[in-house]
Symmetry: D3
Amino acid sequence: MSRPDDRAPDQLRPVSLTRNWTTHPEGSVLVEFGQTRVLCTASVTEGVPRWRKGSGLGWLTAEYSMLPRATTTRNDRESVRGKVGGRTHEISRLIGRSLRTCLDLKALGENSIVIDCDVLQADGGTRTAAITGAFVAVADAVHWIAAQKKLAGRPEQVLHRSVAAVSVGVIGGQPRLDLCYEEDVVADVDMNVVCTGTGDFVEVQGTGEQDVFDRAQLNALLDLGVAGCAELAKIQQLALSA
Amino acid sequence: MSRPDDRAPDQLRPVSLTRNWTTHPEGSVLVEFGQTRVLCTASVTEGVPRWRKGSGLGWLTAEYSMLPRATTTRNDRESVRGKVGGRTHEISRLIGRSLRTCLDLKALGENSIVIDCDVLQADGGTRTAAITGAFVAVADAVHWIAAQKKLAGRPEQVLHRSVAAVSVGVIGGQPRLDLCYEEDVVADVDMNVVCTGTGDFVEVQGTGEQDVFDRAQLNALLDLGVAGCAELAKIQQLALSA
Amino acid sequence: MSRPDDRAPDQLRPVSLTRNWTTHPEGSVLVEFGQTRVLCTASVTEGVPRWRKGSGLGWLTAEYSMLPRATTTRNDRESVRGKVGGRTHEISRLIGRSLRTCLDLKALGENSIVIDCDVLQADGGTRTAAITGAFVAVADAVHWIAAQKKLAGRPEQVLHRSVAAVSVGVIGGQPRLDLCYEEDVVADVDMNVVCTGTGDFVEVQGTGEQDVFDRAQLNALLDLGVAGCAELAKIQQLALSA
Amino acid sequence: MSRPDDRAPDQLRPVSLTRNWTTHPEGSVLVEFGQTRVLCTASVTEGVPRWRKGSGLGWLTAEYSMLPRATTTRNDRESVRGKVGGRTHEISRLIGRSLRTCLDLKALGENSIVIDCDVLQADGGTRTAAITGAFVAVADAVHWIAAQKKLAGRPEQVLHRSVAAVSVGVIGGQPRLDLCYEEDVVADVDMNVVCTGTGDFVEVQGTGEQDVFDRAQLNALLDLGVAGCAELAKIQQLALSA
Amino acid sequence: MSRPDDRAPDQLRPVSLTRNWTTHPEGSVLVEFGQTRVLCTASVTEGVPRWRKGSGLGWLTAEYSMLPRATTTRNDRESVRGKVGGRTHEISRLIGRSLRTCLDLKALGENSIVIDCDVLQADGGTRTAAITGAFVAVADAVHWIAAQKKLAGRPEQVLHRSVAAVSVGVIGGQPRLDLCYEEDVVADVDMNVVCTGTGDFVEVQGTGEQDVFDRAQLNALLDLGVAGCAELAKIQQLALSA
Amino acid sequence: MSRPDDRAPDQLRPVSLTRNWTTHPEGSVLVEFGQTRVLCTASVTEGVPRWRKGSGLGWLTAEYSMLPRATTTRNDRESVRGKVGGRTHEISRLIGRSLRTCLDLKALGENSIVIDCDVLQADGGTRTAAITGAFVAVADAVHWIAAQKKLAGRPEQVLHRSVAAVSVGVIGGQPRLDLCYEEDVVADVDMNVVCTGTGDFVEVQGTGEQDVFDRAQLNALLDLGVAGCAELAKIQQLALSA
């Protein structure tokens, strides 16, 4: 049983991280996982929301969105419908949580970072690509703050962990890494694994909408996910040292 | 290091499931996990949404909400703010997904079930209590449909699996089952485990907002969660056979 | 012509007021008028809205809502529809007005009370049950503020009047007290009477959607309503002295 | 104690009803109660809402609104705020209910009438002026439908009752008819009385936001209101026979 | 080819400007272009929005709206639909821009003017009538501020230009001034011309939804529009000197 | 007085049109006017909106939006604010109108095209770039429909005109073509010119927010705009023949 693009079950799609893809944001990264393309920007503002003022701590939030025709058929704009949908909310919260876990908000000082992840083209794994790309955009933004002499600590203190994410799933009984859309829709089990560069877990979300799964399957998926995140961490490293 | 209510680390809070707590719905269950109290109702309508008509399959959705003063301080109503928040969306989707995995929608036939989980009092674990109580409400609703002779299959076909859920977390290095609010806010890692009555996984969501976690911790939490769900499955069984 | 539950025309349904039904709010009362069940909570915050600051006067507002399946068929949530409906608005305003008339806002001092009346089960008279229960919740909240030494006056000054409410209506030419749902839908005339404990009127709202009514009918309904409120005032008294 | 405009306590302000004030609507009446000016239009469409189809019954709804600067200071538009306020909802519902009570919806046949009451200038009593003017607009609309040969019955069957409304209130202990704004804001008790042309009640709403009121005061207010509505009914008659 | 009301191609409809049409606003003008009737009010508040504080400059915004039955068939209210439509937004912005261009905001000082243009009856050219009427309302408001001794400069400094607007269009190849609705819907090209009293352009918007247009047609339309605005400027002058 | 990028006053920025920039849409064009980058997609669906069914005519609408950080500082998402802003509405309507004028909707047959113009990076002229790019996306979509044998006429009938747009403005008295952001914010007069490939006007919008303008300036701007559109038409031609 081969994959649509003939990858090995434990193989990532070609991953690319293009820094400074747009010029205005303090961090701007185009991340590609195969045909999935997400523009991740990090916008910095001095100061923090009112409820956090005087705490000495920074803040980070994230917003995820899809262009209406990022997908095979067109989706109505959430701005036109007048509300943000459940899936969008859920993914935005996941991205924000994952990135916050990996920043030292005290070393960031009272600065705010807003991450925007806009999916230009979707082919499965948009949320994991978004997390992976957003980390690089945040790293660029942190260095930008440092260059402005506004950082409370040193950049490497703020960025004390890296974070990357990948999807894994079971298709026809076979655990696979980094599902494309065609695989995603037929997966019995679907899991997103978010790991630090040192292999610890930040978030694990496994769902069996088509079927339930047992401990052995769960373990196989975790193994795949951890390995995939380790590869992505290296690619992030490379991109940041370029 | 003892728990606020002196429970053992692997001990559930007192759980109670009161069927027919209100009289109008086809299924109506008040579920209590200690001080957490959620009213779960299942509302049946004949037919399915337009996009599903003629498929022969039933449908189920869920909506979760909190009364404004279910919590220690008052939250503004989402109806007054004019939009459903991200947390509410996320939990509603989790409840719906979990319940759908455990129903045979073909045996349900073209009937729709809407689950409403309204938190009357919150003390941690509201989403897991909601799933656990909602399953019992759905079971009552399925039998109600059967009594109306509108079920495509037999009730035990529709309800081919049971589902229950529990939260687990790491506090001060110690894995614990069924966190109350006081524990929840200080947990380093927080996980929700949704299992079938036969111990398979339906959904696993682990989050390390305060800290990351390693594979050993993840395994300990999964063990606790699976055992907790098994106990809850028995309590559901008992309630349904009363 | 007998009533669905064989009551006399001037007889209330069994009324019950359970204080401290939930533990978080400063006042929390479950009120039951027969099968109608409303949770009334009073939430206290120090200070008043901006436009009232420095006035020395307190403030009170109320919000009424129904759980989606409090009724015989399910109603969509107002949070999901994105707006509060006209009926909800109208009842929330009535409850707030009625309670404010009965508080000495100067003796309350610059404290705010938000009343939430959530209908758990509806069988007619939900707004009048809400007012009746909310008064007791407010009384508990006022005593709570006093215990915090934050009250400008004494509790009995703040609570210088009690307030209760009941519905009355004409069914088949016969004036009746405290209509249940089955009576409500067939009533020619429907009136809500809100009285103080000393028998004065706070609000009178009579509507003839099915038919018009003459002065004699209006007088008969007022007589019934005043008597009903007097009984409810005694039940409130009893509950508060328990 | 004299009134701001030296009227007797039981005296209406100058009332004027101008038919065909605008040309597009099937009924269009500018009603003036002193400085209060409301444009009441009645829009007819063939057919009824889906839930009423095949019933043989007509339908009528009403929407009330104020221009932003109808009042002494400017109010934000509800369209800009994105929601209809509680007061607007409440008045729209009152107008619709009052008019429906006075139409024979069977004789109307499956036609729909939408009433729009837009306050061009406000000086107290806008809702009662709106009801009084809207009746005349509806009468014109009913005759328009008759002229199109689309009425199920005869116009005088449809319009089997007339309806008018007036506000009354207690200021400094004195009951007064038809309060202007200056009186309205200082009234202890405020009541709206809606009567048929034959003196029956359609709706009675008395509110004591500043103070409570006793039965004697209530009776005095009802007497004033009934007399005021009788005068208004004559003015309506005159306008319609012009 | 004659016009519906037998006007010459370069002839305006009868124009009327009634000042102080309502009494509350600082400026209140009913403008009529034939059957088109728009109430333009100018509301003054001391101070400016937060982002402009301390600049020494005043501010002006405008909101345009139509009553639901200003038109031949009824339009739903934007308040009920919960959002302002694109056409409304576009016209509101045009009115605000046109008026701001003609005020010296420095001479106005830190005062804010809100213009409301509510269409009571629509027969083509509502936006151009609104601009023409609003200028007169603004002039009255500026004099009102001066009378309060709150103006930074002299009124004639603030009102250093007058502004008026008119629609022009091509119907059946013929350029015409001030289209009524019947002409507007069949126009191949539709243009709105906004000019100062000295004949300069403030805004030119030409649209060919039915057909495209060439430079000669554009020039003919501009000639007509400039001449029309000059006439309107005289009528404004006259109204203001009355 | 030289331009920020040293262009001649009548010189366009480097323009690029990349077809098939994303793979899902029936037409997908990345248009660049210097640093301004807009993704224009055309989505085809069979059939037309209900109100147009059976007319034999096709339909086209457009939606414009900016990514939150397309600009120098971040703008809140319209989906999060729950409403589409006035500027967005205005531009969406302009794009839709311009494209519709250039299609033969009868030859299109009952097919619908939705254009989405999402600004990835903004540097002035986003709306004119969007129109220019959208035409190419629509052309690709029309050929796609033809390939599906669903077009009523031939592609060249549907696309009977081409359309392009460019901004022009007066800076320091000098008329300039294709303003970048730095020029746009200081322009006294700002005009958008939309022309067909044969040099006719589709839309002309000139605004003098900073200052008014006379006929000579208007003529100079029109000359520049027409010439700019002619160049753009050639670039479109080239892109489509590639």
